[in-house]
Symmetry: C2
């Protein structure tokens, strides 16, 4: 891949890039790998929503970037006082297993992938002093606005939610990166970082933002008290089929359609990465020739014309998604260590615990989940709902 192709792939499939000249400078002038950070708070089990960020990370790895994944255990802790610290430690390990497996499933080389635990540096004296500096110069209203689309919004929020964007900004410096990747919902935190890092003597970074993809059902339903609405990355093929069957998928409607969006932003891009630029998606039909797509616009046109019905689309996505999940499930089944960690990280009692927000910058169903979490908290005792993102 030429440097220009690398830059093009880095900037591809994004809704917005802030300070793109930093990317160009690193690759064209400094002639080194671009270092990019993506963070996730290690709370609930990662589900299929993670694919949206993961596909972008796969593209960045493919483009030769050095990716640093922040496993933000302190953010998780700040957010979830009810979970003992030991549980979060196990979740950090679980997240590393599943993110690695997920990226391998996407078919990308992960030698330039690095995992860093937040607590490994976020309790240090230097970081703490910088946090003091930012706390001294940041108005409450500014911190609240910065976190408005990421941190759970309540009428009487916790102090931890204000610290959150400050830390996410500082992390750019302490992870020593050139750019941060996140969903478009991270925009206000990203601009907070741009405005405030220079005030304490640090340089600004580029910011890569992918779009927000509607969820596979839960975003439409906005209720995670319905356990079926979330597809876990380790759900069995049958469970995936069952859950997709229930997914909201309005006929002929593209806008807000999570199933179509998933095909576009995950399946098409994964196949494109795997084949060197040739996406494909096959829809089997009974007693008819299959519909074969290598162009998302054609697929959308067929969907709007009801040639590609929700039933056909769901069945095809079930097949494609299960193919994607198969290697993850196999790796899990083959790893005694991972299975043991999963048990420790998510003990059965978890089902009774409160649903908590998450420092997840790539969750297409984030907003919906936040609302759902709120709803679930209200009926916590009557439901046996699974922890949701």
């Amino acid at each position: 891949m030429t440097p220009e192709e690398s830059i093009a792939l880095i900037k591809a499939n994004l809704t917005e890039v802030l300070n793109p000249e930093i990317i160009d400078d690193v690759i064209l002038n400094q002639k080194r790998d671009l270092k990019v950070y993506w963070g996730t708070a290690t709370t609930g089990r990662p589900h299929c929503g993670y694919f949206v960020s993961m596909v972008k990370i796969a593209e960045l790895l493919h483009a030769g970037c050095h990716i640093k994944i922040l496993l933000a255990d302190l953010h998780a802790y700040l957010d979830n006082m009810k979970a003992p610290i030991e549980l979060i430690e196990q979740r950090v390990k679980y997240y590393e297993f599943i993110v690695k497996s997920l990226l391998k499933a996407v078919g990308v080389d992960i030698t330039k992938l690095e995992f860093i635990k937040g607590s490994s540096y976020q309790k240090s004296e230097n970081y703490t002093m910088d946090r003091f500096k930012l706390e001294g110069m940041t108005r409450i209203s500014v911190a609240q606005k910065a976190g408005a689309e990421v941190v759970k919004q309540t009428s009487d929020p916790y102090l931890g939610g204000l610290t959150y964007p400050l830390m996410q900004a500082l992390d750019e410096e302490y992870l020593d990166v050139d750019a941060q990747l996140g969903g478009l919902d991270q925009r206000k935190i990203f601009t907070f970082a741009l405005e405030n890092l220079p005030k304490i003597g640090y340089k600004v970074r580029a910011h890569l933002m992918h779009g927000m993809v509607p969820g596979l059902g839960e975003a439409q339903k906005m209720s995670s008290s319905e356990p079926d609405s979330k597809i876990d990355l380790l759900d069995s093929a049958d469970v995936v089929a069952k859950k997709l069957k229930k997914a909201v998928c309005v006929p002929k409607k593209i806008e807000g359609n999570g199933v179509v969006a998933f095909v576009e932003h995950v399946i098409f891009r994964v196949t494109s990465l795997k084949t060197g630029g040739k996406p494909h998606f096959t829809v089997e039909r009974r007693d008819e020739e299959p519909l074969i797509y290598d162009d998302i616009e054609k697929l959308k046109a067929d969907y709007e014309a009801d040639i590609l019905t929700p039933q056909l689309l769901k069945a095809a996505l079930t097949k494609a998604l299960n193919e994607l999940l198969d290697p993850i499930r196999s790796e899990y089944e083959a790893s005694e260590e991972w299975k043991k960690i999963a048990e420790l990280a998510y003990p059965p009692e978890e089902k009774q615990q409160k649903v908590k927000k998450q420092k997840d910058k790539g969750d297409p169903a984030k907003r919906a989940a936040a609302l759902a979490a709120k709803a679930e908290q209200l009926k916590l005792k009557e439901s046996g709902a699974e922890e949701s993102k």
Copy 2:
């Protein structure tokens, strides 16, 4: 002093004591020195308002307590981003000099007096982790309410002001004390500590609160843009006389009278400490016998009857205060080190700086000063006002 006398002196001259049984237990059952913490943010030059806390600290030392004075440099830093950290470091030294000198001037043995710099432990990993815990479980509204009478209140405050009460609570644990001393304005922070320390596994402390004594003029005038309204502990005898002359002191009125209050809460108690319980205050009169008081009620009655006029009272206080300040001034003049530190800590440019709030738990003019500071900020550029508390 018997243990019972010690306990009585510890609890004397206070407006309120929370959990007094802790004090009794330490002295009567554990039979050891009571450890008490008092904190001050090292910002502006300590002025005569400090005497109110210092007299209580002197009583505690006299009663055999071990006193830990927190020189809260990080609080000062959080609060005063405009002052470079080097300046605050010098101010920490200046505060230690003046507090020691002040207590010696009061005539008390300071061998059980200890100074601790906030940054010596407030950046540690354990402290930071505890701060994360408190931030995760404390609602913004609760933190704001806790600091409402101590932290500067504005319509759009800084995040640092929310961290402030959390740290002050944690300090009780990290300074390893049995009790904390402060003005009545600290009450909400003290109850925050009582409620929250047990939630993170720490024990509650006793809380000693002295009353809020009106200022020597500035509290009445509510303007620190008038440099004369504050008596610096190192002001010359002439300057003290000049400033007291200008002090507000309404004839026949005791309530809210800072001059009468200063005589009661500083002069009477200091002389009482020095003489083993026999306060005295002499008012010289021209062509008449002096008025000699050993009972504050008699003094107040005479003042209300206008036998003791404001002019007589001010002249007598000027004499008594200058006697108190003399040893401090002498010590300063004799110490090349202290003089050098004063120069470094408060360079001339300071006069042009913003007035900042202060973690001062014993400032009788605190509320007034906060209002004054606000007023001064508004006319910052037109005034050559000194930094005020």
